[in-house]
Amino acid sequence: MVETARPTPTETVAPAMTVPRREPRGYSVRTLPGFAAMAIFTFVGLYAPILILVTYSFNAGSSLAIWEGFSLRWYYQAAANEAVQDAAIRSLYLAFCAASIATVAATMAALATTRTRRFPGKTMIYSLINQPLMIPEIVTAVALLIVFAAIKVWTGHTSMIYLIAAHTAFCVPFAYLPIRARLETMDTTLETAAQDLYASRWLTFRRVTLPLMWPGIVAGLMLAFVISLDDVVITEFVKSAGQETIPTYMLGQLRRVVTPEVNAISTVILMAGVILVALFFRLTSRRR
């Protein structure tokens, strides 16, 4: 009994067994001449510009081509720049508000449109939610400019509310998709069981549905947060005077002499984005 319960011997044998099963080295229908070389070229091409950008953010000199030694000078300078601080706080505040509201709305909509029969208007709700993904951003941006300009003139009110509304709208589909995907992997048996055990609908939702769909909600929130943080076009057209976010600030800076300060800010955004996306992938792929 003890002997058979120990899995170690078979485990050590297993890798050796797989060797003969590999395809013969000489000829494989899976290799096509030149394709691997092209692919390597692609990966180098994809990452080289980003690596160069990151490298020069650490340049001691103010050049973007001549390396003058390692320094964190531009990071300090960016962090001390009041315009950058201001824009960074605004970006985070905006992304936080828009992503949270969008995620709540998207969670409700996802609960309503999944795990159900075909009810009247289901397709309509679905296509409406995905509508911001279909329209070029510049078109939505100028449409919002038209409407919000009229409202701003009419009410004289120019707060962040316009930016929050605009960002929330395009964040909804991004929050909706992972939540919906998560819900579609859940069937209703556990909820039915809870209700059979006299749980109220609210209690069922709170104790059964919500914990099960939670990874989807967190993934949706993170995705919406990244999308809001990255947005340039809609922000550029909707913002009132003095409402720069980090991306619009950088877009404005590009018109002047570019220093590695832009690279430093870019690198921070890049890192934040990569970390959030890596977390997002972990959350969405664990149950596969």
Partner: protein, 312 residues
């Protein structure tokens, strides 16, 4: 849902009532999302339709007088001297640049993207996820940051010129920024993952026994690729092409940063009407034109992908 089997009501009445209540609840639950999108995305598009039929105001905005000029000005303009209608050459050349650069970008991403997708899909399963992740990361990182990365690469004092000067291939830096080349290069770089991902999905589903069969029947690698593989991954290629073509057509940030003030694309022409151009109705009409073009391409895309799903 309802389990009342023995009731005094006519059969099916309770179920129908429950169904109606269920539909109402689902609509109510979706309401916040619907309201947000109607107010801050879909609704303004309808307002824009109205604005495209108004007269431009003197300092931007509009006067509430009906006019078709917004629409006619998209392709023709009135001559300042003798009031005759002439083609709006500036607009037509921008339309042409948008279309041709989008097409070139699509072809370039095809040439680069298909081998890349093939390479990733034919990796052993363990390593495949890693390569796939490498393709996906740039896709999710900030578009502006990636455009800036391209800008720093191709500037006159940029790395490419620096290397070429060092080697001695050129004597003076090549002016690459603010050209159509810069826009095409930038868009190819920025939108490449949109080509690789759908083609990868198609290659991943490919039944390699069919390729083996082709080889057994004395097809060379090239013939097998052309006659067997290409037809099988065609849906992925078409999907990827549309996914690249559509954002290129509506691109705004990349042409603005890399193309500068002279090499405008459709998106920049629209912006111009709301800025220095002060012609909001024309801008609205141009936006609706762009939206229509994109919608046509996307409907095509949905039809292809749904047919593919129906097939298997």
């Amino acid at each position: 849902m309802s389990k009342q089997a023995e009731t005094p009501f006519p059969p099916g009445a309770l179920e129908r009532e429950a169904e109606i209540a269920d539909t109402r609840n689902r609509w109510l639950l979706s309401l916040p999302a619907i309201v947000i999108i109607v107010c801050a995305a879909a609704g303004p598009l309808l307002v824009m339709v109205v604005y495209s039929f108004l007269t431009p105001g003197d300092y931007g905005n509009v006067k509430w007088e009906f006019s078709l000029d917004g629409w006619t000005n998209t392709i023709v303009q009135r001559d300042i001297f003798d009031d005759t209608l002439i083609w709006a050459d500036a607009h037509l050349s921008i339309f042409w640049r948008s279309f041709s650069l989008s097409l070139i970008t699509t072809i370039l991403t095809l040439i680069i993207g298909v081998p890349t997708a093939w390479f990733v899909a034919t990796q052993p399963p363990g390593r495949r996820e890693f390569w796939l992740f490498l393709v996906t990361v740039p896709f999710w990182t900030n578009l502006l940051v990636r455009t800036i990365a391209v800008q720093e690469l191709i500037r006159s004092e940029g790395v490419i010129n620096l290397i070429l000067l060092k080697i001695g291939i050129i004597d003076a830096p090549i002016q690459m920024m603010f050209t159509d080349f810069a826009i095409g290069f930038g868009m190819t770089y920025v939108y490449l993952p949109l080509m690789v991902l759908p083609v990868y999905a198609a290659v991943d589903k490919l039944d390699f026994r069919l390729v083996e069969a082709a080889h057994d029947l004395y097809a060379g690698r090239w013939t097998a690729f052309r006659r067997v593989i290409l037809p099988l991954i065609k849906p992925g290629i078409i999907a990827g092409s549309i996914l690249v073509f559509v954002p290129c057509l509506g691109a705004y940030v990349t042409p603005r940063v890399l193309g500068g003030g002279k090499n405008l694309m459709f998106g920049n022409l629209i912006e111009l009407q709301f800025g220095a151009g002060r012609n909001w109705p024309l801008g609205a009409a141009l936006s609706l034109m762009l939206m229509t073009a994109v919608m046509v391409a996307l409907i095509f895309y949905v039809r292809i992908t749904s047919r593919e799903q129906a097939d298997g």
